[in-house]
């Protein structure tokens, strides 16, 4: 059973995370609300995918990035800025920084461990698992964002035609 109050609270916090990055990267004031909204949506989608075991963190990130990108295209003309710009801020909380960091730490630990083969192998296993996770999550993030932008430009037919060219190219 899913705990909706916890999910909604997490959505609130993740929208704050997206907003923080939006301010750091100087997003236009008109698009701040979109960055916050998409941050909340993305985190919730990823959480649901992982909760129902439709996929692990990699698949969850792919679906979330895809959702963020499509909704971003739909609301782009309300924010008076290209869709990618506020999608970026919503995606950055999903960048696998911790995985990459832990992989690096494991690699360094190989140098500092005792000369026991089992310890070294354990560190190598940790490094490769974390590093590959980081790499796959990162590529799924890019794929999920890029697919709608590269291949689904017709989604502009659902929005106002006159804005289509301006915000999706």
């Amino acid at each position: 059973m899913i705990e909706w109050d916890k999910v909604l609270l997490d959505a609130l916090w993740s929208s704050f995370a997206a907003l923080g990055f939006a301010v750091l990267f100087n997003l236009p004031r008109k698009s701040l609300w979109a960055a916050g909204l998409l941050g909340a949506i993305g985190h919730t989608v990823r959480h649901l995918v992982m909760h129902y075991h439709w996929g692990d963190i990699v698949v969850g990130t792919l679906v979330a990035a895809f959702t963020i990108s499509i909704i971003g295209m739909l609301i782009a003309h309300h924010t008076d800025s290209p869709s990618l710009i506020f999608s970026f801020c919503a995606l950055i909380p999903m960048v696998p920084g911790l995985f990459a960091y832990q992989a690096l730490i494991s690699l360094i630990s190989i140098v500092t461990t005792e000369k026991k083969i089992s310890d070294i192998l354990a560190q190598i296993a940790l490094a490769s698992s974390n590093g590959l996770k980081a790499m796959f999550v990162f590529f799924c993030l890019s794929f999920g964002v890029a697919i709608p932008i590269l291949g689904l430009r017709e989604i502009g037919y659902f929005t106002k035609k006159k804005y289509h060219r301006r915000y999706f190219k």
């Binding site: 698009s31 500092t112 890019s142």
Partner: protein, 265 residues
């Protein structure tokens, strides 16, 4: 291929405008396909065709007259990389459409570019507060409590202040210093057991330094065929992640926290 026919002074001004736009966009963190599209729109608006080759450190383009393709000029320049500024990316995008659709003159475009580059960013205090709140939110999302959140807030606040003060230094040195400062303050929380989740605060307080924009731009570049630029961006981002790790490890060595090896969230 030399044609023997050169550009006049006005046409050279268009070329330098294109370079300036490319430089600004690259510095602001736009991905390569967007830069190429924007430059093409600017050139077409002023009656030129353009062939562009972009690398991470420079740009080379050839301008052709639309009505007389024999007249062309090649320009190449280096590009500097500094702070991400998404407002500038959006505004220059709008400007390029105006040039294409509204017959904006070159002088007006240059004036508006000057205006855009002078536009102030969010105030320093706003940035500090919002980014610190974002890292507090990260701490909460990774399972921290409100004490951990507060610790992450304070550590990030001071770490980002250091990052802003050392913007003029080398990027990697600046990131290492900021990461070192933030994790030192968070480590104090771990040592004095401020709340039960201070180790999570320690892990999330450096997340404001994660190079998200270069990483996502790298992915987009590789997917859209600008492979060399994408790889360069990805390597820069990896260097920044390595700097973050270096900062954390220095802090833990100094404070005698041997926990950096099994430092997992």
């Amino acid at each position: 291929m030399r044609q023997g026919k050169c550009f006049t002074e006005d046409e050279n001004e268009v070329a330098s405008l294109l370079f300036r736009v490319a430089k600004t966009l690259m510095a602001s963190g736009a991905h390569t396909a967007r830069i190429v599209n924007t430059l093409t729109r600017f050139a077409n608006g002023f009656g030129f065709d353009v062939d562009i080759f972009i690398t991470y450190g420079g740009i080379t383009f050839t301008l052709f007259h639309k009505d007389d393709p024999k007249i062309s000029c090649v320009k190449s320049h280096s590009i500097s990389i500094h702070g991400v500024n998404l407002s500038l990316v959006a505004a220059i995008g709008h400007l390029s459409w105006d040039v294409l659709e509204k017959e904006t003159t070159l002088k007006q475009v240059v004036a508006r570019l000057d205006e855009l580059e002078k536009k102030p960013r969010y105030s320093r205090l706003t940035t500090l507060a919002m980014v610190s709140l974002a890292d507090g939110a990260f701490c909460k999302l990774f399972g921290g409590d409100y004490y951990g959140m507060f610790l992450a807030f304070v550590a990030t606040f001071i770490g980002l202040f250091v990052r802003q003060k050392t913007l003029k230094a080398n990027l990697f040195i600046s990131v290492t210093l900021a990461s070192f400062t933030a994790s030192t303050i968070a480590s104090v929380g771990v040592i004095y057991n401020l709340g039960e989740t201070s180790h999570i605060a320690l892990a999330t307080t450096v997340l404001f330094l994660i190079p998200g924009v270069p990483l996502i731009s790298a992915g987009l570049d590789i997917l859209e065929g600008h492979v060399s630029t994408g790889i360069a961006r990805a390597f820069t981002a990896s260097g920044i992640i390595a700097s973050i790790a270096a900062g954390i490890m220095c802090a833990m060595f100094l404070l005698g926290l041997g926990a950096w090896k099994n430092f997992m969230v």
